[in-house]
């Protein structure tokens, strides 16, 4: 998941759709995010590249909608409802996820295990 500045980033992503749960007057998704271009990337425990300022999932509430939808801790959010999450501030990411008029969020997330899975499957069928 490392990126070369100036080059397009390629990643294997998984599409996850989470239905927001209404709790009182809030709509919650059931996970916590960390990271952002205004944060310190060196403290991110989940990223391989310690200069990666992307948004990562740091905690999942067990039994919440995110857990049920398949989100895992350590996932990097690439897109939320079509909005890019690789170059946003922490607050912008929070806002995109907590829009009050949206019931459902469609995320594109990536994780290390996805790449490995793809490599393995590609390894079975080597390219010509």
């Amino acid at each position: 998941m490392s990126f070369v500045p100036g080059q397009p980033l390629t990643a294997v992503v998984q599409r996850i759709q989470i239905q927001k749960l209404r709790q009182g007057e809030n709509l919650i998704l059931g996970f916590s995010i960390g990271g952002g271009i205004d944060q310190d990337p060196g403290q991110n425990p989940f990223s391989d590249d310690k200069t990666d300022k992307g948004i990562y999932v740091t905690r999942i509430t067990p039994g919440g909608p995110a857990n049920a939808a398949g989100l895992r801790m350590g996932d990097k959010l690439m897109q939320v409802n079509g909005w890019d999450m690789t170059m946003v501030t922490h607050d912008q990411a929070r806002k995109r996820l907590t829009k009050k008029n949206e019931d459902v969020v469609r995320l594109l997330v990536t994780r290390k295990s996805l790449e490995e899975a793809v490599k393995q499957s590609m390894g079975c069928f080597p390219r010509q």
Binding site: I28, L29, F31, S32, I33, G34, G35, Q39, D40, G42, Q43, N44, T58, R59, T61, H90, R94, L97, T98
Partner: protein, 536 residues
């Protein structure tokens, strides 16, 4: 209640006072102040112009509003003629005041008192030293070395006292204030009491008993001079040092065009504060230009001239409207005023529109004239060139001095300048002579055309113009508190001259409570901001 006092600020400039030096107190006798008041009443009564609303006072005062001959019976005078009349009056009366015997009498009286006090003070120690030699020379002990040393000390201390008194008191008079300067009067009384008590002691214990101990007498004289030096120190502290620390912030507003300035003053009496403010006025406030106010006056007149109230049915009660008993007349007046306000509100008022376009047009005109003026002046300045030293010897013909050079290039810019001054309504402030003088001055000092023009583009402080354009010569201090009382927070007083008045309000500079906090230089430490985690 108002205490009116006359305050003439220009006695310094009149030729007579140039030589008179002040020393000691200024005392003003009460009855003289009162006679001055009667004269000031003659000079400073300006009624408000008739454009003031009909609402309010005029009807309540019991005049017959329905009287159609009011123009002949009332004493209100129209704006312009009143100004010209009272200005002539003022000029005549100012001349009278300056020639008056009363003013001189007061000034010479205080001067005489001061001189007498000064002589008394200086001659007393010398008299103390000399009198024993004159009166009982044979009984007197001879003066030893210590005693002669004391002579030197007396001499030098007297010299220092003389110089110090000259420095503090022998200064040209700044102004004539309405009331006595309290501190100076107190100091004079103190000095007088002091010297008199020393003389008493001397007379009783030394002259009567014919003391032979000359050294003791010399020491007595030295102690007198020492004490006088200390009184002089007290004078410096009271008269000069006490008001240096700023204590009040005064806000001075000119009543005609609203120019506001703020000054910091120390603890002063109201009359001294007024003097300080007036001295700042001449240096800071732009010159008062009544031509600029005519537009707003005409607008105000138009507002009210459009509406007139006629009562077509019923007579008026003739009883006076003053007093609580006349409810009918008062009610009538109120209803009339209400009717006028309602009508004025309903009327489609387009005066704001006119004002906007008029001002835009005026600004455009001024800018156009200014552009023409700048070009004309720059072109005029290119016609002359300063001659260098070597050239002067080579070509003696057709050489001009600055005044002639100014006269030579003036006609090419005269018209543009005249038009510009007329557009900005400044033409009465500058005469042709003064403009040519200024031009010669600029040429002599190698100034650029822009430097020459600056004094005409913006109105300068009052002091820069010649004295007949000042419109602010005779000042009257109007105050509810006594003018010798000190400034307080919230005190308000007026300084009125013929054309306008300066409204002065004071505010106290607050007491500042400061506390300290110590920061250890080693305590400046930083960490990177932690990853913040937000749950969504």
């Amino acid at each position: 209640m108002d205490t009116e006092s006359t305050y003439s600020g220009y006695s310094y400039y009149s030729g007579r006072s140039r030589g008179s030096h002040r020393h000691g107190e200024r005392s003003r006798d009460r009855h003289k102040t009162r006679s001055k008041d009667s004269r000031s009443e003659k000079s400073v009564t300006i009624n408000t112009p008739p454009a003031e609303p009909l609402l309010g006072d005029s009807a309540v005062r019991g005049e017959q509003v329905q009287d159609d001959n009011w123009g002949e019976t009332t004493t209100a005078v129209t704006g312009t003629s009143e100004h010209s009349l009272s200005q002539e009056d003022i000029v005549r009366i100012t001349k009278d005041l300056e020639d008056s015997v009363g003013l001189d009498c007061r000034r010479y009286f205080t001067l005489a008192l001061a001189v007498i006090l000064g002589l008394l003070v200086f001659l007393t120690p010398l008299a103390f030293l000399v009198l024993p030699h004159l009166l009982w020379p044979e009984k007197l002990q001879s003066c030893g070395t210590a005693c002669e040393g004391l002579f030197i000390s007396v001499a030098f201390k007297l010299l220092i006292l003389l110089l110090a008194v000259w420095a503090l008191f022998f200064r040209p008079r700044r102004a004539g204030l309405p009331r006595v300067f309290v501190f100076r009067a107190l100091l004079a009384v103190l000095v007088l009491l002091f010297v008199v008590s020393y003389w008493l002691f001397y007379g009783v214990r030394i002259l009567d008993s014919q003391d032979e101990n000359y050294q003791g007498i010399v020491q007595y004289a030295v102690s007198l001079v020492d004490a006088l030096l200390f009184i002089h120190y007290l004078a410096i502290v009271l008269l000069e040092l006490r008001q240096l620390q700023p204590c009040f912030s005064v806000c001075v507003t000119r009543s005609t065009d609203g120019e506001i300035r703020h000054y910091n003053l120390g603890q002063l009496s109201i009359q001294r504060a007024a003097l300080a403010i007036l001295e700042h006025y001449y240096c800071d406030f732009p010159v008062s230009n009544p031509a600029l106010l005519s537009a707003s006056k005409s607008r105000a007149a138009k507002h009210l001239a459009g509406l007139k109230v006629y009562n077509v049915d019923g007579e008026f009660p003739e009883a006076p409207a003053e007093g609580p008993g006349n409810n009918a007349a008062a009610g009538l007046v109120h209803s009339q005023s209400r009717a006028m306000i309602a009508a004025a509100a309903r009327r489609r008022d387009t005066s704001h529109n006119e004002l906007y376009y008029e001002e835009a047009e005026h600004e455009r005109r001024v800018r156009k004239r200014k552009a023409r003026l700048v070009v004309a002046v720059e072109e005029a300045f290119t016609h002359i060139k300063r001659m260098q030293e070597e050239e002067q010897k080579k070509a003696p013909g057709d050489v001009m001095d600055p005044r002639e050079a100014a006269q030579a290039i003036f006609p090419s810019m005269a018209r543009a300048l005249q038009k510009y001054l007329r557009t900005t309504k400044q033409q009465h402030c500058h005469s042709m002579e003064s403009i040519q003088q200024h031009l010669a001055f600029c040429i002599t000092n190698n100034m650029t055309p822009k430097a020459f023009l600056e004094s005409y583009l913006t109105p300068g402080p009052t002091l820069q113009y010649s004295r007949d354009h000042w419109r602010a010569r005779q000042w009257t201090l109007i105050s509810e508190a006594s003018v010798t009382s000190g400034l307080k927070d919230g005190s308000v007083f007026l300084l009125r001259c013929v054309d306008f008045s300066l409204v002065v309000t004071t505010k106290k500079i607050p007491y500042i409570q400061m506390s300290e906090e110590y920061i250890d230089p080693k305590s400046h430490k930083f960490v990177l901001r932690l990853q913040s985690e937000t749950s969504v």
